[in-house]
Amino acid sequence: MPKQQQSIRDFSGGIADGVNTKDLKENQLVECKNFIADGIGRLSTVPGTREASAVGVVSELPEGNAKNIHGWTADLAFEYTGQESGNNIEAPTITEVQVAKRASIDFWHSTSYLMALNPFVKSLVIHNIDRDHPVLTWLVEANSYKNTYDNLDLNPPSAYDQSWAKGRSVKALEVLANQHTINPVYPENAIPWKWKTVSSSNKVSHAPSEMTNATQENNDGLTDSAVGANLNGNRFVVEKVSDNATWGSNSTTHPVWKMTLEFDYWGKINYSIEGTWGIPRENGIYYGYRPNTSNPSIVATHGVSHRSIDLNSSNPTTSNFNSRNGATFIVNNGIHEHTDVYGAYSKFSLNMVNISYYKTHKYTLNIQVYKDVEQTTFDTINLEYRNDLGEQVDDVFQGLLGGGENRIIHSGYSQDQAIYWERHDGGVYLFQNSDTEKPYGIKQVTIARTQEVNASSSLSDGERYQHLVAIANKSAQASVYSMETDNWLPWSIDLREDTSVTTDNKGISFFDVEGYLTASCMAFKTNNIPQWFGYLDINKTYCLATMTPSTDFFSTKFSPTPYKQIVTTGLTANQNSTNDSASAVITNSHQAVDWFSAEAVWSGVTGWISGAANSFKNLDDDDNNKIRVLRHSKSYIGSESFGLRVFCQFFDDQNAGTNGTVAGVPMIGTFKKDNPVHFYYSYIYEGGYVSQPIRISCGVGATANQEGFPSSFAPKSDSVSMGINVVIGKQLIGGDGNNNILNLRLKGVEIWAKYTKSDPSNLYLITEIDLNKGYRSNLDRNWKSLSNYYFGSSSVQSGYSTGDFTASSSDKYKTDYLIFSEPNLIESFRNRYGLDYQDNIGFDQGGTGWKTACVFNRKAFYGNIRIVGKDGKIEYKPDAILKSAPSMYGTVGISTMIEATINDGDEIVSLQVVGNKLMQFKKYSLTIMGIKQLENGETSEIIEQVIHHSGVLSESQICKTPYGLFWVSRSGIYIYNGQSITKLSETKNGNLMSKKDWETFYGERTMCGYDAYWNHVIIPRTNLNNNKTFIYSFNTGAFTTTTEQINGLKTSGFIQTRTGHVMYAQEIAEAGSSITKSQSNTSDHSAGATNSTINQNNTQ
């Protein structure tokens, strides 16, 4: 039968441990550890890992199996001066990593050189492995060298005699050298070489000038026409070396003869030495030659000095090489392994770890590259690049060096001397290599960074974002890292209310939306309360304080409660015996109310001009439309000093003013005296949180800091309109008037009304104030500017108002009010937020929080929650999901709870979104929910499918891929593409991994993470001392294993870098170079440090 061949190029089937080896498909493997098939004909080793952050943070990861890492992007106008203190954006530098070395091979011959013994024809071939052709071929025939110098015998009769040596041996070596010189055999791609000639200063073996008589000349054969005159053009290649230290103690009488084969090549050449001349060691390893011994097995040993090379143990004179009988040694740079190289390519390192986030520079790279083998002339490559904002250091490298296949293409030099570049952690290498046709070396490289432009103050909206990473630490804290700046931010997240408590927590659940991060303690410890972290511009249009800094990272409670300052001085009208007296006014109180018996008494009230008209009138100055200013008895009560004031004015008084102005005309409406109105206010916070409405109260409590009396307002008579004027003062956003903002997230206020008789269970929106946009109400829904607040004074007061009450006129106009002719029932609190106004909103107490969260259909969903229930007590709901109002991601309450599957002995582990499906993972089941559009335009989640035995034990066991949601479960490995679930670990032929192996592999700490760069998912067995990782390649749909990934100490779950590489946090044992948060809050972070401190302390 003829010979046949079977070729296997496809290893893409990966392992299939669960399939009988005889039933494997052609492309499947029995075992594949640390190899990965990512395509047909390409099986390679698994990817390596690298450190992605220049420095670490001194802390530890929480115990347990939580993911504890979260990546997100945040829009921010960012001047992060701290980046420069990290020493990772310093000016680039150049380091010469490897000086070019010319490739050559040295031949050393002992004085007792004797080449030709049986067999009589010896051959030596040096083969270039890289270019696959012979470099040199020597043949020596013993029979043709019988006399004098013919047999290459350098062994003198007794002691060394130079003339003897010249005549008998040196000449022979020169003749041998000419075997190549005269008859070179070069293929086209061969690298030229020649014998290196020696100079007189190097003790020329037998230069013509040394020939003192004819005998010597004759002995040297220089005039012997038989072998050709002018050998090597009278430039000789054999050098006498007398070096006791290197070759032997008697080198004077027994010198060593050296020949150097020199390539026209400044770089590594891999070659093999073959032929019968010498000792064919293992597969041609060839170090030396000693023909006259029966045991040619002793070879040079790596690292052993030359003189100890034992090539002939029978030599009677000495054991040193120089006296060896017939020793030849072929060596390259003293490293005694035939495939080691003599010669090295030029290699420089352009060192640049990172670039500034907010500065641009012009980078100028100058490379001088030799263009001749003697390194006397060179070409110059000038490369320039100016980076744009938002670019990374890799963009600078690409911009400077560019080119396909990492080769520098430039008109300034020949591609025969092509220079390549390769990324390393600290920058790029610039080098020549074996792909360079004629590498003669790189002479010099310089880099300059000039023309700096600091754009920190002019960043546009499109440039305001960064990729951030949050890492959970022990003791319910988290550190934040910026990928752009390669620095840990000096602002941390601390969930603790009592920061002296340092107990461990079981992880932090992160969740981000619209650039803001939220964090919750997964152990629901009482001392921990969910936090919000984000970058803010806190300077507002309607803000009386100048904030310093105006933009920064801030960390506050996720669900803040409005600040309340109880007024403790003065008496309410109710408490004062003279109800109508001006003295019944509480200084710096909060609100004004219209009470049924009010009169126009403004004297003594802050901002009031005594004696001014006490009527309101229309802008047309029509006296008939004037109304009476009503007495604000039981007034000026509030929860914030100079914060929020709500003036309620029923237009019901027809009496003339006390100062003689005309009688007012009631405005017709539907407000009635038996339907009192209660007012509430709520604060709106950045990130989508509204506080629980608080009823505006009247008066102070009986004791200091006690709530006042709830307010209730009604007209004096039926069928009138209601006017509302709202004033916001410094206290609302400015605290004590300085820079201490009560809550930096505050973005506005909503005023609500409850009509106690007609609809006592709902609140209805009266007006909303945005600190940037102004105010609006359902009267016309248009945003209007807030007015400066005069309130009759000639100077601007500390506040903004929905009506100006200008100083230009002492009259008060009813146009300064939002006038409602009937109770405004357009939008209730429940309509807007889906919540009962009496619910606690969000996670506003220690011990509340969630274990998983996601955003779906512009609503946040929180799973496995602990929240304040209807009865005011904290309830734990492991099966429950809270759904937020649209775009109000923190606005959830017990009345928005969904329970898809309950009382099943299980708990929600993760909520994920795939397309238009919400997936609820429990430990032992998966519930897929879809969206149902309701008739009222709202949406509702409906259960489409409950799949048992496909749950996960932690959120780390799920990752998102372009092919769908990927997760690992005790029953196998799955992917869901939005329509169907596929079990990847199982085929028709059986499981791709044995059930037994998977049972021992899968556990609480098993994780998975998608690597977009390599297009595979890694599945480590554990996050602590991991020793096995499965890799699933999407290119091939196959599994392999590795022991090289995620080893060592504790790790987090996985996210991705900006370039798609899988990324994770890992503890390292040594402290090493690192920063601490306290350190980073000093030096360049002075501004940030101040605010960081403020943020930590002002968590309202």
Binding site: Q6, K33, G48, S434, Y1013, H1061
Partner: protein, 144 residues
């Protein structure tokens, strides 16, 4: 002293390994009923660096015990190091290593095992390995 936390990521480069095993299925030349006499194995691969790599190669016939192949003396990329058949590093160039069988091997199927192995001071560097293909040369003996 508390630990440090650092961020790590996968590298664009392939890993430098100290442990790796690759076992093929049992190839039967298309007909498991035929007995074959195996004579040669060609492995086309590339690897960074130069010198003898720690990658060695074994084979087994019909699931029997693993045996070492023997480097072909005329091939430059299959070498014997510490009595084990190893691959020569190729400086990232795709090369073919040729191995022979230490004795006459007859069987219906054959499986290969590539694994890393170093003895003593041997270099353990194993970087950027890529396996392109494996070719078995055999002659069909008979049908049994």
């Amino acid at each position: 002293m508390p630990n440090n936390i650092i961020l790590k990521a996968s590298s664009p480069s392939l890993s430098s390994l100290t442990e790796a095993v690759f076992i093929t299925k049992e190839y039967d030349g298309g007909d498991a009923s035929l007995k074959k006499s195996y004579s040669r194995v060609n492995v086309t691969y590339s690897m960074e660096g130069s010198g003898v790599s720690p990658l060695q190669i074994k084979y087994r016939i019909e699931g029997s015990s693993w045996k070492y192949l023997v480097p072909d003396p005329v091939n430059r990329y299959s070498v014997l190091k510490s009595s084990r058949p190893k691959f020569l590093r190729t400086h990232n160039h795709l090369k073919t290593a040729v191995f022979k069988f230490p004795e006459k091997e007859v069987g219906r199927s054959i499986s290969l095992k590539l694994e890393l192995s170093t003895i003593g001071q041997e270099s353990a560097d194993f970087e950027k390995f890529i396996l392109s293909d494996i070719t078995f040369t055999f002659r069909i003996i008979n049908r049994k």
